[in-house]
């Protein structure tokens, strides 16, 4: 049963990482101990990354809420030139344009998975938080399908993860994280970037369908 637990944890990693790229609300992050949870689950999923999560937990404690918000805005929101644009198309498109073809492809992936962006969302569909959340959704659905005994469906969700992760997420995360590490003076975001980068780098989507993976060990 470890596989399913691991997968469920992997799903959670995506969710928490996504949450950490939203405008930071220090108190909430502290109350819910998001970094603590991330640290715990990363321990199993991607031990190399977990140390940084632990560091984030301390860093957030030390950083002023306002400082966090300003750093977040400088990096990802504007109004001035973004230190680290959080949009896939900026890294994937040749001319660094926003809302490029890749954005549309990403949107189509969402639709194919039966998802639409919620009304409140005003961000481009290839925002890092949204893409991470999408991965969370796909992994969760994979686990859910396994729980329901529907292996074919689980396989489908795995396949989608492969496509999305390989084509639209992993190719730009490293460049994006480097920008954050270079640009931000706030330790929390540097740690977050390092953590994300390692997580993406070291935690690929499981290569084959679970039961065959099980048979090979």
């Amino acid at each position: 049963m470890e596989f399913m637990i691991l997968e469920q944890k992997r799903a959670d990693c995506y969710k928490l990482l996504a949450a950490l790229f939203y405008p930071p609300e220090k108190q909430t992050l502290m109350d819910e101990d998001v970094c603590g949870s991330l640290f715990q689950i990363l321990d199993d999923v991607s031990p190399e990354a977990s140390a940084y999560a632990s560091g984030m937990r301390n860093a957030i404690d030390r950083t002023d809420a306002k400082e966090l918000s300003i750093a977040h805005a400088k990096l990802f929101v504007g109004p001035f030139e973004l230190q680290a644009p959080p949009y896939g198309s900026v890294y994937l498109e040749e001319n660094k344009m926003l809302m490029g073809d890749s954005t549309i492809d990403v949107m189509k992936m969402y639709q194919r998975a039966g998802l639409g962006l919620s009304e409140e969302n005003k961000d481009a569909p290839d925002h890092i938080a949204i893409e991470l959340e999408f991965m969370h959704y796909l992994v969760s659905k994979e686990v859910q399908s396994m729980q329901d005994g529907d292996m074919n469906e689980a396989l489908e969700y795995l396949k989608m993860q492969h496509v999305f992760f390989d084509k639209y997420l992993s190719p730009w995360v490293e460049a994006f994280c480097s920008k954050i590490i270079e640009a931000s003076e706030v330790e929390f975001f540097r740690l977050l970037a390092t953590c994300l980068s390692i997580f993406i780098n070291r935690t690929p989507v499981p290569g084959t369908i679970p039961d065959r993976a099980g048979a090979s060990t």
Binding site: M1, E2, G149, D211, G214
Partner: protein, 312 residues
């Protein structure tokens, strides 16, 4: 420790929501903590709720359920054990083959059906309950068992009395297990249970999980167990004032009453005895009545034209 099993409410199933004059207060009466409010819509105060889940156990229509809990999986886990033990997951280190929320969630339907479906005696590990704030649930379980004369469930208050044997399942075993027949059978019985969460509208009819469980047990059970299970079913009677307006079919949360071709149909298997139709009937012409032992045939679908009262 994080408790993943919280209470989930679904106003679309709550009798008070469906009918503003309903007097249903089953959950209110079940809650020690007065954590449930129904005056301005069904809500649960999470601060005072202790998660005993008795409200979920008494709610006839699944307006209150245990979030994140999948009965299907529990059944699967119990099936592969020779002497299955079920416990809550709120205390660390409880010996069990399957663990879930506080066992207060086990309604009479659960208690009567699970042993039939797994075809074994089920042990409930209550060894830590005496120290728990939800200690009152064991009383509730005892009462249910006594009332229903249930034989397949044993309440185990002390670890020493527990007949527990660990099963080692790795990843490989798990998937192999998934393909094993008993699991498939249980899975088949309850595969529809997972659909419960996506309900969108009040008009959608849905049968509570525990009722589906009961029906599955009824179909699988022996003659003797059928008789026992039968007590949980209801029958219906119409007064002659019924004008066939069929408003009751809309009010019924489970689809037990329906009028597909101009005739009124009643399906005992779908009736959870919530009595909302009785309360609501504009003509006050419906009566929900307990099934009597000799009425075995009535457990099958009661078709309108068998009873001229239904035909309007």
């Amino acid at each position: 420790m994080f408790n993943p099993y919280s209470i989930k409410t679904d106003p679309s199933r709550c009798l008070r929501h469906r009918y503003n004059k309903s007097t249903c207060s089953r959950c209110l009466n079940a809650c020690d903590q007065s954590a449930i409010k129904i005056d301005h819509g069904l809500s649960v105060d999470e601060r005072s709720c202790t998660g005993c889940m008795l409200c979920a156990a008494v709610c006839p229509t699944e307006a209150i359920t245990v979030e994140r809990y999948n009965l299907n999986r529990t059944l699967g886990e119990l099936l592969i054990a020779d002497k299955p033990v079920l416990a809550c997951s709120l205390k660390d280190g409880l010996m069990a083959h399957s663990s879930g929320p506080c066992l207060g969630f086990l309604s009479p339907e659960h208690l009567v059906s699970i042993p039939v479906l797994i075809d074994k005696t089920l042990q409930l590990n209550l060894s830590e309950c005496s120290d728990c704030e939800n200690t009152h649930i064991s009383e509730f379980l005892k009462e249910s068992i006594a009332e229903m004369e249930i034989e397949g469930v044993v309440l185990v208050d002390s670890v020493n009395e527990l007949d527990y044997h660990d099963i080692q399942t790795g990843r490989r075993d798990f998937f192999r297990m998934l393909r094993r027949e008993p699991f498939q059978a249980a899975h088949e019985f309850t595969s529809s249970l997972t659909g419960g969460g996506t309900r969108k509208s009040y008009s959608e009819k849905s049968l509570p999980m525990k009722r589906r469980l009961l029906n599955a047990a009824y179909r699988a059970g022996s003659v003797t167990s059928k008789k026992k299970l039968q007590k949980l079913y209801s029958h219906i009677a119409f007064h002659k004032d019924c004008n066939g307006c069929s408003a009751c079919t809309a009010m019924c949360p489970t689809g037990a009453l329906s009028k597909p071709n101009g005739k009124l149909y009643f399906n005992t298997f779908s009736c959870v005895g919530c009595e909302l139709c009785e309360e609501f009937c504009p003509k006050q012409s419906i009566y929900i009545i307990p099934i009597k032992e000799h009425q075995t045939h009535a457990l099958e679908v009661c078709v309108g034209d068998k009873n001229d009262q239904c035909e309007r």
